[in-house]
């Protein structure tokens, strides 16, 4: 038991099983679409968890990066005549560059200050998207051209389910690799003691920036996927509320747990769907469930269950 829980690749393997099983068990487009949305959200949250759960740096602005990936995929073909694939990749790279530029000054802040600075980033991006109507379509959003990879037209849930699922598995494997490497150890060291990390030779500012950029790239990729999958983007994609949701997913599933990130995304994507029958009470019930979960499992679902299982096994 302990061995399985400790294996860094277990979450990616578990997800691979889920990705294969879902279409066999519930082959309806409705559920596959839901699963695809879970994968796309989880992609953001896994990256955010590297930043928050492992390196200990908060971001309340990751929807900005998510939106940059989404809008780049939309704007490239619509306004610049670029192929969708090229726009998507350029958008992801560009988002990484922006994260580097923004992260450099603001990652010197800690705690609440960093929270407010990243929130500021989210506000700015959200305002730009809403107001640059000529480029973004403003509040109504814009259509997104289909993605072609060679002669493969990637469209519909049957395609995107697999693209998002496999990308998420790769992203989880990469995160697991990173965490059990010198880079990952440096990030985790920074979380526990920046001053100790420093005197051991770790360039704290550089590693904070690195993980900020990595998490932004995860978010931008997910944003591009959502835009291409939906065929439509609106400012809601990159709103402040989305940033908060991503953080809620990471915290709910468990900071410092890759599997927790996927679970947190799953809960917050699936629950609202499951609760639609409660109509006007939907949001109140969702909120209540989240509060109860956090009170009962205060370290997040997966870390709490893990320590409970380990105690049971010991």
């Amino acid at each position: 038991m302990r061995r399985i829980l400790a294996n860094p690749y277990a979450p990616a393997f578990a997800l691979a099983v889920v990705v294969v099983m879902v279409p066999l068990l519930v082959p309806s487009p409705f559920y596959l679409r839901l699963a695809t949305l879970v994968f796309i959200n989880a992609l953001v949250v896994v990256g955010l968890n590297l930043l928050m759960g492992y390196a200990g740096q908060i971001s309340l602005g990751h929807a900005a990066f998510f939106a940059m990936g989404a809008y780049a995929s939309a704007i490239g073909p619509a306004h610049l005549g670029l192929p969708t694939l090229a726009s998507m990749l350029a958008g992801i790279v560009l988002t990484g560059v922006v994260a580097y530029g923004v992260g450099k000054p603001i990652l010197r802040f800690k705690g609440y200050h960093l929270a407010v600075a990243t929130l500021g980033l989210g506000v700015i991006v959200s305002i730009v998207i809403t107001n640059e109507i000529a480029w973004t379509g403003g509040p109504d959003g814009m259509q997104v051209a289909r993605l072609w990879i060679g002669s493969w037209r990637v469209s519909g849930v049957a395609n995107w389910y697999w693209v998002a699922g496999i990308t998420l598995i790769v992203a989880m494997l990469g995160a697991a690799n990173l965490l059990s490497s010198p880079t990952g150890r440096a990030l985790r060291a920074i979380h526990d003691s920046e001053v100790a990390a420093g005197v051991l030779g770790i360039d704290v500012a550089r590693y904070k920036l690195l993980v900020f950029v990595i998490s932004a790239i995860y978010a931008a990729t997910a944003g591009a996927f959502l835009a291409l999958f939906d065929g439509h983007v609106t400012p809601v994609t990159g709103g402040i509320l989305r940033s908060i949701e991503f953080v809620a997913m990471a915290v709910l599933g468990g900071l410092g747990s890759i599997l927790g990130s996927v679970l947190g995304a799953a809960v917050l994507v699936v629950l609202p769907q499951a609760l639609t029958s409660f109509h006007e009470f939907e949001h109140a019930i969702l909120g209540a469930i989240l509060m109860v979960l956090m009170i009962a499992l205060r370290r997040g679902v997966i870390p709490s269950l893990q320590s409970w299982l380990l105690r049971g096994a010991a």
């Binding site: 420093g198 030779g201 410092g256």
Partner: protein
């Protein structure tokens, strides 16, 4: 040439002068102790030398080169590291991982290769892990590698910090109260380790309230009091220095001051 030269160093925190015109030289390979009553400025001096604080005035040289204002990680790269009086352990990691972090500078670390999890990364992990185990053995923590650091007792963590600092392969190591909270057996073990690393040519700077420990171990002792230099000399000179005895009168003679400070 001195390993460390502290030249007329002063530091103020608002109105408080924590260090005032402190100067000393530490030759390579020496065990150099810094003592003084609580609040004398010993830890502050370590913070200034290791780059954690920037001094208000003065200069610090490391192997002859000026390092004033350098950041801790830059100094670590040059071969200077330290431990902390108030533990700075990576509590979410295992004991072995704590020491492996100390190997950071000697590991090939390329985020892309790390992300891809290439076999060379795993090989290097295994190698770092093995070296970490050896250092844990050295400080008397054999077999504790897999223990979560957060669950280990204080005395063990003190030694874990020493192992972790040694993993950087420093030429100068600064130990801030390495035996605080340790029992007699552990204290003797740590004294043995310090002798061993000094014997290998490493320069050791030491802050400690346990006078028995300091007197038997140090080649030279520098005494601070209220941020100022009170005396410097060999252990026997310091033991018989009237000014030092005076400064310690509130507590006891320096030779008798017990170790009691976390």
């Amino acid at each position: 040439m001195s390993a460390i030269s502290v030249e007329h160093v002063s530091i103020r925190f608002g109105g408080l002068v924590a260090l005032s015109d402190v100067s000393f030289d530490v030759p390579p390979g020496e065990i150099f102790a810094l003592i003084g009553p609580n609040g004398a400025g010993k830890t502050t001096l370590f913070n200034v030398v290791s780059g954690v604080y920037a001094c208000t005035d003065g200069r610090i040289r490391f192997n002859g080169k000026t390092i004033t204002g350098a950041l801790p990680h830059e100094l670590a790269r040059k071969g200077l590291t330290r431990t902390f009086q108030n533990l700075q352990i990576f509590f979410r990691m295992s004991a072995a991982e704590n020491v492996m972090v100390g190997r950071h500078l000697h590991e090939r670390r390329n985020p892309l290769l790390d992300f891809l999890g290439l076999p060379m990364v795993h090989r290097q992990n295994a190698e770092s892990r093995k070296l970490a185990e050896e250092l844990l053995d050295l400080v008397g923590l054999s077999g504790l590698g897999d223990q979560p650091a957060g669950e280990l007792p204080y005395g063990v963590l003190k030694r874990l910090e020493i192992a972790r600092a040694l993993a950087t392969r420093p030429s100068v190591i600064m130990l801030d109260e390495p035996v605080a909270g340790c029992n007699a057996v552990e204290t003797a073990e740590i004294a043995h380790v310090i002798r061993k690393i000094a014997g290998s040519g490493m320069t050791v700077m030491l802050v400690e309230h346990d006078m028995g420990f300091v007197m038997t171990l140090a080649d030279r002792i520098h005494v601070l009091n209220r941020g100022m230099t009170l005396a410097e000399g060999t252990p026997s000179e310091i033991r018989n220095n009237p000014a030092v005895i005076e400064a310690y009168l509130g507590t006891a003679k320096p030779g008798e001051t017990s170790r009691a400070h976390g």
